[in-house]
């Protein structure tokens, strides 16, 4: 009896909350900075849409993914979901219920700041599944004081990088008298992480594809690609430049190595800088540059690792309002708030004040940029192929080869077989 009464009461409570308030719910994975950003946007959005509040919920990435799919599939979707483009694609693939925003976007005027390629990125199976809101830039960071300590400059080439990294390991760059420093901080534990690190090496070296090109050709055994892949694998294995635990490191552990002052070189995402500029963290003791060049004649770059954007589930409780808010996220105010709180944006046609040198590096990019190639949007089988690729790489990292060259050749053949099987 009690049970029924309780259930009844809850059901009632649930109905009233969903019916009365004009509340938009957004699910993202940007943590406290993201929440602050959405709060700010909610404030501004209220001016033109009185009575509407925007509530954002930040989940860890893996929870975001599972929850979004389950919710959309069971018609319990939030109003908007916000994440990296390739993650939204997976949600599209598993639910088929993300609204096509082509018409919405077509009717917007103030979008000149988005490039052809930005729009290409947002499109999947001829549908515009996100409005692109933040370019995700990832540069190569090095501890300033460590470079001084070992008497080196910011490395340009991969050979330079290895030399400096070795000195970081051997020459006690933090001067604490202990051999407890590493050259690089990387990670490999989760399926996406390892490939993500490889993306940085590959695109940073000016190459265009990590695994497969738009024609469906597997690229990893082409000479340039092979060279980068082998160096990548060696970084994890024989070079001894990373923490021995790296193979089980995911984001928190990688950050712990960086923020615990153990590694001299690392990935710097545009969203990291705000925290790392503070005293409690790296206190601004790092320089950002392009990723090391591996190959002569190819321009090394800062990597555009993706596009974060907003998507609207077709079964969003407040569909029209959700679309309105999605559009609003490209307005000047929303974009300025984005840059201020999260460190990234797609437009820069507003005043930027009080940003550190390192934040300006990303806010007003003057460096070469090389963008992730988004194979997901070309090959619908890509996620499965990539999962297989990851599985192979993870297995081989714990079983280092003498002949990496032969290994990569064989791996490429296996990937071709897998591709053929998936394409059928």
């Amino acid at each position: 009896m009690k049970l029924n009464a309780l259930m009844g009461a809850t059901a009632l409570a649930l109905c009233t909350t969903t019916a009365s308030a004009q509340e938009l719910v957004v699910w993202h994975d940007l943590g406290d900075n993201g929440i602050a950003w959405f709060d700010k946007m909610s404030e501004v959005f209220q001016k033109t849409n009185p009575g509407v509040t925007v509530t954002s919920v930040s989940f860890p990435t893996d929870q975001w993914y599972g929850k979004s799919i389950a919710a959309i599939n069971t018609n319990t979707a939030p109003d908007l979901i916000y994440n990296n483009y390739e993650r939204v694609i997976r949600v599209v693939n598993q639910t088929g219920k993300i609204k096509d925003l082509t018409e919405t976007f077509g009717a917007m005027d103030d979008v000149g700041f988005l490039t052809e390629s930005d729009i290409g990125v947002a499109t999947y199976n001829d549908e515009m599944i996100i409005l692109p809101v933040q370019r995700v830039q990832m540069g190569f960071g090095i501890r300033d004081s460590w470079l001084d300590a070992v008497g080196e400059e910011f490395p340009e080439t991969w050979e330079d990088t290895i030399r400096v990294a070795k000195k970081f390991v051997e020459e006690d760059p933090d001067g604490n008298g202990r051999a407890d420093t590493y050259g690089l901080a990387l990670q490999a534990a989760n399926p996406r992480d390892l490939i993500h690190m490889l993306d940085l090496y590959t695109f940073g070296a000016g190459l265009r594809h990590t695994l497969i090109d738009p024609d469906g050709e597997i690229t990893i055994d082409q000479p340039d690609h092979k060279a980068v892949l082998i160096e990548f694998l060696k970084t994890f294995t024989e070079y001894g430049l990373v923490s021995p635990d790296t193979i089980t490191h995911s984001f928190p552990e990688m950050y712990q190595v960086i923020e615990g002052n153990r590694a001299g070189m690392f990935r710097v995402g545009d969203w990291n800088v705000k925290k790392w500029d503070t005293e409690e963290s790296l206190n601004g003791d790092f320089r950002i540059g392009e990723w090391p060049a591996h190959i002569n004649g190819t321009e090394n770059a800062v990597v555009i690792g993706g596009m974060r954007g907003v998507a609207v589930p077709e079964n969003a409780p407040n569909l029209d309002l959700a679309v309105e808010f999605a559009k609003f996220m490209l307005s000047k105010e929303a974009q300025a708030a984005s840059l201020q709180n999260v460190g990234a944006a797609v437009r820069g046609d507003f005043e930027i004040e009080g940003l550190s040198e390192r934040r300006l590096y990303f806010a007003q990019p003057k460096h070469t940029l090389n963008a992730y190639d988004f194979p997901e949007s070309v090959h619908s089988f890509y996620p499965e192929l990539e999962a297989e690729f990851h599985r192979e790489l993870v297995e081989i990292l714990v079983d280092p080869q003498d002949d990496w060259d032969a290994y990569v050749e064989e791996l490429a053949d296996r990937m071709r077989e897998k591709r053929d099987a998936l394409m059928q």
Partner: protein
């Protein structure tokens, strides 16, 4: 039987070493939560920090936009409510099955209950999600509390206790034409006080530790408890090691205190609950 001194010393040394194995992680966690980064690196084994640093506790004051106090409150409320609910449902359920084991359906109920215990808990994820959705309980505290109210050890404890009541006691009452309500309230309830205490304690300890169902049923971080928050600290923005240890300390401390105060009931309760299963 007396033993020679060296043997006794040897035995105590061995038991102490083994006990350190069990207790060390707590001490290490506690001390790490007060250390600064440098002393974690320089002296990972030092258990008493040179200076007590409360920064880590300040760092976790707000996590994912939710104040720490909310997580604590959720933990307390979910634990409390699910414990009360478990006591009521399993207590009455076990009593009914004990008094009338041959009523149609009761045998099946018991078997069904045993099946539930054996199903891999973590793989109830999706179906529980669906069930909660169909009941309209997704993302609600009620949903979480109801799900946590299914407890195997608790059921067996009650069952075992009821079986230990001498049947003459109840038969005598029946001779006096006492109503069922009277039998329950006047005769069984007073005797059941210790077992209710034990079950309550064990349920508190078990449900405080729950994380997976809460993670699954929640639709926002508003309903996360301390253990779920602890597991969710791995956002891409990273969190420092001391913060993790501070949160782990807060998650562990209450159960350690309760356990140390009531260890006899807890251990004995766990034993008899398990022995019956």
């Amino acid at each position: 039987m007396t033993r020679s001194l060296p043997i006794r010393i040897g035995a105590y040394t061995l038991a102490t070493v083994v006990s350190i194995f069990f207790v060390f992680p707590y001490l290490w966690m506690l001390s790490a939560s007060f250390k600064d980064t440098d002393s974690i690196l320089t002296a990972p084994l030092q258990l008493i920090p040179e200076t007590f640093n409360f920064d880590a506790y300040r760092d976790i004051a707000v996590m994912s936009g939710i104040p720490l106090s909310t997580y604590i409150w959720n933990s307390v409320w979910i634990t409390f409510a699910s414990t009360v609910f478990t006591l009521l449902t399993t207590g009455f359920g076990a009593y009914a099955i004990y008094r009338a084991p041959n009523l149609p359906g009761f045998g099946l109920l018991r078997v069904g209950f045993l099946l539930v215990i054996m199903y891999p808990y973590m793989l109830l994820v999706l179906p529980v999600y669906l069930v909660m959705f169909q009941l309209g309980l997704l993302g609600t505290m009620t949903g979480i509390i109801l799900f946590l109210s299914v407890g195997p050890i608790q059921f067996f404890l009650f069952e075992q206790f009821f079986r230990s009541i001498p049947s003459e006691v109840i038969e005598a009452a029946q001779m006096d034409k006492a109503s069922e309500a009277k039998i329950l309230l006047r005769i069984v309830a007073p005797m059941a006080r210790p077992v209710v205490m034990t079950v309550a304690l064990i349920t508190i300890l078990l449900n405080w530790a729950q994380w997976f169902p809460i993670l699954v049923i929640s639709r926002s971080t508003d309903t996360y408890t301390l253990p779920v928050a602890l597991l969710s600290l791995n956002s891409e923005l990273g969190v420092n090691f001391q913060g993790i240890m501070a949160l782990a300390t807060l998650t562990t401390l209450p159960v350690v205190v309760i356990y140390l105060m009531t260890q006899k009931y807890v251990i004995e309760g766990m034993i008899s609950g398990a022995v019956k299963g």
